[in-house]
């Protein structure tokens, strides 16, 4: 069983599928945030966690982290680094959602679109979803073999000039 699991997660096509799924997902999810930064800032405010002075800077930067990491995963540019950053972002989302779930605060996650005023996300559903994504990032991070379809030649990355990290 253990060997079968190891063989499954060691399969380069499984790694590729996880990478394309995560990359595509994060590129898709950043579009509305980049198009509407003011709405994004309001969503961050709605979490009631971050101090006011940090909200706009986060609203400006976060979608571009999603975009650049997502593109890096899709095109196989520093895929492990991109997955580590996405993993970190998901960890922050999971902590933020759990904190609001514990204190019973209603909020709009803003993940794949912005809700109208008075409409909120279901935090339990968000938590499960983010944990699944978190697991998928681990597949990309822990993968040890040669990755399929990366921007590199003969296992050497064109940009870093070394094996894609």
């Amino acid at each position: 069983m253990k060997t079968k699991l190891a063989a499954f997660f060691g399969n380069p096509y499984v790694e590729l599928a996880c990478r394309l799924f995560l990359g595509g997902l994060f590129v898709y999810s950043c579009v509305h945030k980049i198009m509407h930064p003011a709405d994004m800032a309001k969503v961050i405010y709605g979490y009631k966690i971050m101090p006011g002075v940090t909200i706009n800077v986060l609203a400006i930067m976060l979608p571009f982290f999603e975009l650049v990491c997502g593109l890096c995963l899709v095109f196989g540019i520093w895929p492990r680094s991109a997955a580590v950053l996405i993993n970190g972002m998901l960890l922050i989302f999971i902590v933020a959602i759990s904190y609001n779930l514990m204190r019973g605060l209603q909020f709009d996650c803003g993940c794949f679109g912005f809700h109208k005023a008075g409409e909120f996300s279901d935090p339990r559903e968000l938590l499960v979803r983010d944990m699944v994504y978190f697991g998928i990032t681990l597949v990309v991070i822990l993968y040890q073999g040669t990755r399929k379809f990366t921007i590199k030649t003969k296992n050497r990355c064109l940009i870093l000039n070394k094996t894609a990290a």
Binding site: H36, P37, A41
Partner: protein, 164 residues
């Protein structure tokens, strides 16, 4: 160890590219926002301070001032959705739902001249709809538009006159 160093280097490069791109796009985009917004409800309606923000703090009035205007018979307009208005509103207020503004504005325009003093409200300091309505009214020619920032919930909880 080498893998960790390579991964860390990649993280730093990706982060720097993302940060640079984010601030360049925000500076160039007409939808860009200020580096610091107004997120303190004690100071008024919250706002990301976008380049073309309709929130104008000069219009804002608080509960005592709104009460004073109400006692003077000033016209109140409700920016919330029609169903919220139907569930309860400031007595005598007229419904002008901001999401449906242009289809309900015609009769209002004919009934009230440009010089009418108008107080717009919605559901409090986290609600920008009253400012958006005020902006629409000003664009239509009204010159004395105020925004009651505490909105219907504060009015109701103070026991001030409401109706369904």
């Amino acid at each position: 160890m080498a893998a960790i160093i390579n991964t860390s280097k990649g993280c730093i490069v990706i982060a720097l590219i993302a940060i640079a791109l984010a601030f360049i796009v925000n500076a160039l985009s007409p939808r860009g926002i200020a580096l610091v917004g107004q997120w303190d409800t004690a100071k008024g309606v919250i706002s990301a301070k976008a380049k073309h923000d309709f929130i104008n703090q000069a219009r804002e009035i608080d509960l005592p001032k709104a009460q004073e205007y109400f006692n003077e018979g000033v016209l109140f307009v409700d920016a919330r959705a029609a169903e919220d208005y139907a569930a309860g509103h400031i007595r005598g207020a007229i419904s002008l739902p901001v999401d449906n503004f242009f289809s309900v504005f015609g009769p209002f325009r004919q009934a009230y001249p440009d010089s009418t003093l108008i107080v717009a409200y919605c559901s409090g300091r986290e609600c920008p709809d009253s400012h958006e309505l005020a902006e629409n009214l000003e664009n239509a020619g009204y010159v004395h538009v105020k925004v009651f920032i505490d909105g219907f919930p504060a009015w109701k909880s103070e026991g001030l006159p409401v109706e369904n």
